[in-house]
Each structure stands twice: as C-alpha cells, then as structure tokens.
Subunit: 256 residues, 2 copies
DNA sequence: AACATCTTATTTCTACAGAATTGACAACGA
DNA sequence: TCGTTGTCAATTCTGTAGAAATAAGATGTT
C-alpha cells in the first residue's frame, strides 16, 4: 500500500490523493512557498509527494479549475500572476455576492452565535495590547467566522460555495503578494476591520438587512483599498520567460 | 499522429485533447445525450473518443470543476442531478452578477451595437409569424448577444468570466431538463423575453444604469419563475442503478 | 538571424493493483 | 414453498505507476 505524506502530516490512500495534493499545493500557495509566476514541474512535485506524476497532473487540472494556476497546453502550469487589477476584480465580484448573502442571511441567523461574535469583537477592540500576535490570529479567526456564518445562513448553497471559492482565491492572491512583506500585518488596519465587522454584526442583530449589506460593502471596499496599495510592487518583478500565448482555457479554468 | 474525432467533426492534436473532450461532453450534456444521474464510465468514453482513459479522466476532473458532474472517489462520475433548487440558486447568483455587470457596463457600451440590438429586437417583436423556427433561433441569438455585450463591456474581466461560467451552467441545467419536453419552447415566453431585452437595451441607451439593472433583474427573475415550473417534473424520475450493463453477447448494442 | 540538433518536460498510452458491485448460492425464517 | 438475508468468488471499473511519444525550449554552428 502506498501512502503519501502531506504538509499536515496526514497520509491518504488510493482515491484521495488528488484531493490531498490539491489541498497541499493550495497551502503552499497561501504560505508563499510557491510564488506567483513559478513554473510547476510535474516530475519534481511527484518526487516531492512520493507519487507518480499522474495524480499530480490531475491535481493541477483541479487547481486550474479553482483559478489558482494557469495551465498552458504542452507547457505546464504556472502559479497565477496576480495583478492589482485581478485583486480588484475578484473583490468587486466578492463584494456583490457577500452583500447579497448578507441581505439573505439577515433575519435567519443564529442570534446566539451573532451575540457571541459581537461580544468577542468588542473584547478584542478593548484589549490593550494590539501588537500581541494572538490579536492578529483572533482577528482573522473572527473574520472567518463571520463570513462563514453569513454564507452558511444565506439559504443558498450555491452562493455559499461561490463565496468560499472567492475567499480562497482572495486569500491566495493576498498571501502570495504578501509573502515578501510581513510588515503588512498592520495593526491599525486590523482594528479597523474589527470595527467594520462589529457594524455588520450589529446591523444583523437589529435585523436591518439594508444596513448590514451596506456595512458589508464598506468592509470589503476598504479591504480592497488597503490591499491594492501593497500589490503592484509585489507582482511587478516576476519575469515570465515563456512566450505569451493564447489558449488559456483549460477545463474549467478562469480566463483572464 | 493520433487524432480524435469530436461531436462537431473537428479533430485535435496532442495538448488539446482534454479541452476538446470537455467541450464535447458539455455539448452532450446540453443536448441531453447524457442524462442527469447517468454514470460515466471512463473506458467506454475512451473507446468512443478513440483515446486512452487518461485524458478522459482529466476531462472529467475539469468538468467536475465546472459543476456539471459529480466525482465520487473510486466510484466514477455522475452527471449531476439538477433540482429546481439548484436552478433557483444558480439564477439568484447570476441575477446579482448580471445586474452588477449591467450597472458597470452602462455608459461604456458601444452605442451602435446597442442601437442595432434594439432595432433587431423591435423587428422581431413586430414580425407576424412567431411560430417560425427562425424566430426562436433569432431570439436566442439576440439573448446571447445582449448578455455577452454587457459582460464584455462591464470593465471587469473576472466578472465576465464568472458570468460566462454561470451561463454555461444555466444552459446545461435548462437543456438537460428540457431534453424530454420540446413543447416548452413556448412562443409567448420568447416574446416576453424580447420585451424584457428591449427594456434593458433602452435603459442602457438612455444611460440609466439603475433602470437597466432593474430591467435585467426583472428579466432573470421572470426567467427563473418560468423554468422552475418545468423542472421538478423532469428531475424527479431519473433514478437509476449506478451501473449500466452491456449486453454480454452483442457488442453492437449501444450503451445509451 | 536561420538552421539543425540536443535536452527537458508534457502528454498520452499501457499495464496492473485495489475498490466496488454483481450474481450465484446457501442458510434461515415465515 | 417462497422470499429474505448473508457470504464469497468473479467481474468490472477506477486510480496509479511507469514507459513511450511528442512538443517546446535551449544550444551550437554557420
């Protein structure tokens, strides 16, 4: 029996390898171990994961479907170049969908969960030491919880799935462009985010769908504004030695 | 040199096969040759396309990424069951995004193209014989042109790509549920659609983004309302055992 | 540059190991 | 007797590995 070791130490059996590799590679994109523009060579990955190149190839096809890499016929896979424009565009779409989800979720959400979120957000805002690494961690966790709660309560599974895909893309893009520049985890921004989150949660608690959607829109807008300042510099220097060529369309991949 | 023959008679060389197979299978889903719930067997497909099962597998992975089939580990691929709920959910998302695209496109669009569309829509509405098969054809063509024009002019490539993906899904769902029931190509509905299209185009010509988005929203809403009536009946009876057996003695018996 | 050749990497094929399902058949209970 | 249930071998299909085919890029020569 063959098993493969993944980033998280788990191993997987036959029939689960592709998925395991997909997740592992995603994690590597998030952490910046795989950089934008980088050429992924199937043979190398195969050796690294201790499998043949077949499941690697399949994982790459799946990743292209998510939109994290580009597949060029006969020339392999590239971690997607991310321009500020890409991030802006993804965020515009995300904003529209998050707002819709917020409107739909309003009034159908678990109030206890919302109250708990509100409480934790307030506690976090009141806490003295914002440079505590745990502050960052908690802020991110709360962000995830809020967005997941909204998506899960919007009553539209397809919408929820789309949002989780966009979140994934957004995270990948953001983290790739950040890998070089840790200083960006800027505390003022995080506190601002908390306040935005709180505004959303309070509108949701009040059952005011319009206000909640407005707050959500504002929240994402200010995020875009913030990130887009940091992105162009990070994406510029990546040289692409491959000749530019058209057929960007893989199976389900986004064309850009 | 190996080439494979596709549904449309084209053939493709190495490096384009997966894409070709994806498109071919998509077309078969559209036309109802592949029905919801049907089990896709890689070997059969491989023989049918005259390739080994490797590129077939890859195509199936890509199709799963698009959302047209489900992939069950160690148990192959199923053409997705489509419930009325699925269609509703996809349409909700599509409505939100189409409206956003409409708002963004408003004022940046090619006025000549819009005028031309308006003219053709009016001509179509005025034409006497609505049961002419060409009426249907033209109505659909104009629908495509309008939505493509909006998507292409919205200034957000990612949004445009998302819309084209949703359109694909929507078409797949609609056509699968229709394959049995041709009578659904109902002329009154088509004429109504034309009027909705005309309203959108006129608002766009007037540069009234709000009105255009509202018309677009109305257009998609009325579409959903219409389709969702026809879908439950079509999706209910498609239960079948996972495995479809070939007649042992006669190799000529086509698998449907 | 233009061309021929070499090298590397991708794509496809073939073969086989492991899952899942079928179908036969026996044991059991009504 | 009939129908149900459980077991097991046979079959079919999926998933992976490894080899073969071929395309793209690199190198070297003129």
């Amino acid at each position: 029996m063959t098993r493969i070791a993944m980033h998280n130490g788990q191993s997987f059996d036959r029939g689960q390898r592709r998925q395991a590799i997909v997740e592992s590679l995603l994690a590597e994109v998030f952490t910046g171990q795989l950089r934008a523009g980088q050429h992924l060579v199937t043979q190398d990955l195969a050796e690294r994961f201790g499998v043949s190149h077949t499941p690697i190839r399949e994982a790459l096809i799946a990743l292209a479907g998510v939109g994290v890499i580009d597949l060029l016929p006969n020339r392999g896979a590239l971690v997607r170049q991310v321009t500020a424009k890409d991030v802006r565009e993804v965020c515009q779409v995300r904003r529209v969908l998050e707002c819709e989800a917020t409107r739909r979720a309003c009034g159908r959400m678990d109030l206890e969960e919302l109250e708990a979120l509100a409480g934790e957000l307030k506690a976090l805002l009141g806490s003295a030491d914002r440079s505590d690494p745990r502050f960052i961690e908690q802020a991110r966790a709360l962000d995830s919880r809020l967005h997941d709660l909204v998506a899960g309560s919007c009553g539209n599974d397809f919408l929820a799935a789309e949002l989780s895909r966009l979140k994934l893309l957004f995270r990948a893009f953001r983290d790739v462009s950040w890998a070089y520049d840790k200083a960006r985890s800027d505390y003022r921004r995080l506190a601002g985010e908390c306040r935005e989150h709180l505004a959303i949660v309070e509108a949701l608690l009040a059952g005011d769908a319009k206000a909640a959607a407005r707050s959500m829109s504002q929240h994402i807008r200010s995020g875009v504004k913030y990130w887009s300042r940091s992105i162009p510099a990070a994406t510029a220097p990546v040289v692409r030695s491959l000749r530019e060529r058209k057929p960007a369309s893989n199976g389900g991949g986004k064309q850009r």
